[in-house]
């Protein structure tokens, strides 16, 4: 158990190190975030209403996540994958990818939220809870897309296929997230808020468990 923990930490450190050295991945996603939000800003014109702000935010999150996760899986070539296969267990590998993408998405969520507030005004009332929701949401979306990227990587047609596979599956999660996030805009408290958050957290756990169980089958290649 402790060796497995060490493997995971090492794999995550490897990814982080790659990010710091070959900075083009991180800055690439950052640029994508900035450009998308800028396009939204230009097309909307003024400062939008709360619910428009909310829906735009989650759409941007979705596309940023697809991009970020695709990049993080694309950079490992076939030879390197074989090396990892011989060195680390399947569960460790997918867990490290999940954690790394979750961290990446969390950072991106914060940055995109700051940019949204800067460019499109700040209709938020409960800022702290929105920060929490966007972190939870970003991590949740990244979980689904990490696993789908693993599937798409085996099918050799990464980004487009990942998007096709991912959008239907992610929509209920997005609906839940935007509903929960709406509460940050109103002063009224919605009655079933914690129930929805629990459902979301449960969904995330389900995805992680599924990924851990199913990834070894993909790995044997």
């Amino acid at each position: 158990m402790s060796t497995s923990y060490k493997h995971i930490v090492t794999l995550i450190k490897k990814d982080l190190l790659l990010e710091v050295r070959q900075q083009y991945t991180f800055y690439g996603v950052l640029l994508y975030v900035a450009s998308t939000i800028f396009v939204v800003f230009q097309t909307i014109g003024g400062e939008p209403e709360g619910f428009v702000w909310n829906s735009m935010f989650w759409i941007v999150q979705l596309f940023v996540c697809v991009n970020a996760v695709a990049k993080s899986f694309l950079q490992d070539s076939k030879g390197r994958m074989l090396y990892f296969y011989s060195v680390a267990g399947a569960g460790d590998f997918i867990l490290s990818k999940i954690i790394f993408n979750a961290i990446l998405m969390a950072v991106m969520s914060l940055i995109s939220m700051l940019l949204f507030m800067a460019l499109l005004g700040n209709p938020l009332i409960h800022i702290v809870s929105f920060v929490g929701i966007s972190l939870l949401g970003g991590i949740g979306i990244s979980l689904v897309f990490t696993f789908l990227a693993a599937i798409a990587a085996k099918a050799q047609q990464q980004a487009a296929l990942m998007a096709i596979l991912g959008f239907p599956i992610i929509i209920p999660q997005l609906l839940l997230l935007s509903k929960i996030a709406k509460t940050a805009f109103d002063t009224a408290i919605q009655p079933s808020l914690w129930q929805m958050v629990m459902v979301l957290a449960g969904l995330d756990c389900l995805i992680i468990v599924l990924a851990l169980i199913l990834f070894p089958f993909l790995w044997k290649d």
Binding site: K154, Q157, I164, L165, I169, L206, F217, L218
Partner: protein, 226 residues
């Protein structure tokens, strides 16, 4: 026809539904529902059958991952296919019913259960796209089996849990009373009988179509690989 007893049963059941279903006495309630309650014999069994087919498909996917064989792969695909067809039929019958029950004859209404059904259709269509994009048959079977299991697990929150939590036009959501599927106190005896006959009949029809397709696939493979 091989093993024809259940096929004849399916034929007879569906014949009954399509004739008696329109003639049998049903309780005529308020002004809107009236005779269109007969749609329960068509619409609801579609969804039951769809869930049954998707479940069988996932079971065959699990079997494939545990012990790979062409047979379990074929079964998984064909059951997913017939499930998707029944999903489309369910949406169509639902749209027909909705024009009478819910008012204007627009094709789409923003109701969570409808959205869930459409999403499940999209998920399984993506399954077929995934299969189409992989060339190597063993790889295809393995990856699509993994996706099938993942998609099925995500199906449950989508079409069962979330619509119950949201306000919905369907019975069972917030703001409407009743159990979405089966409330024995809700339906008269005639409606219940025909509902269950319908479920059995439509499911058996789907199984018949699927087994024919699987046999076709097996014959094609035998011819190709000698």
């Amino acid at each position: 026809m091989r093993k024809y007893w259940w096929k004849i049963l399916a034929y007879l059941l569906l014949l009954t539904i399509c004739t008696e279903g329109f003639l049998v006495k049903v309780p005529v309630l308020d002004g809107r529902l009236q005779q269109s309650i007969r749609n329960t014999f068509f619409h609801v069994p579609m969804w039951f059958s769809m869930m049954i087919f998707y479940t069988v498909s996932v079971v065959y996917s699990l079997i494939y991952l545990y012990k790979p064989s062409h047979k379990s792969n074929d079964y998984a695909v064909e059951f997913a296919r017939i499930g998707a067809v029944y999903c489309i039929l369910g949406l169509i019958t639902g749209a027909v019913w909705a024009t009478y029950q819910w008012g204007d004859p627009s094709v789409w209404k923003s109701d969570p259960k409808l959205i869930g059904a459409a999403l499940s259709l999209l998920i399984y269509l993506a399954y077929f796209v995934l299969r189409g994009s992989i060339v190597d048959p063993d790889n295809k079977a393995k990856i699509s089996a993994v996706y099938n299991i993942f998609a099925f697990a995500m199906l449950f929150p989508t079409i069962w849990i979330l619509p119950r939590m949201a306000t919905s036009l369907h019975p069972g959501g917030q703001g409407a009373e009743g159990n979405p599927g089966l409330n024995p106190n809700d339906a008269s005896r005639n409606v219940s009988i025909f509902l269950w006959l319908g479920v059995v009949g439509w499911t058996l029809l789907g199984v018949w179509i699927t087994t024919l397709r699987v046999r076709l696939q097996l014959i094609i493979e035998k011819k190709l690989h000698g």
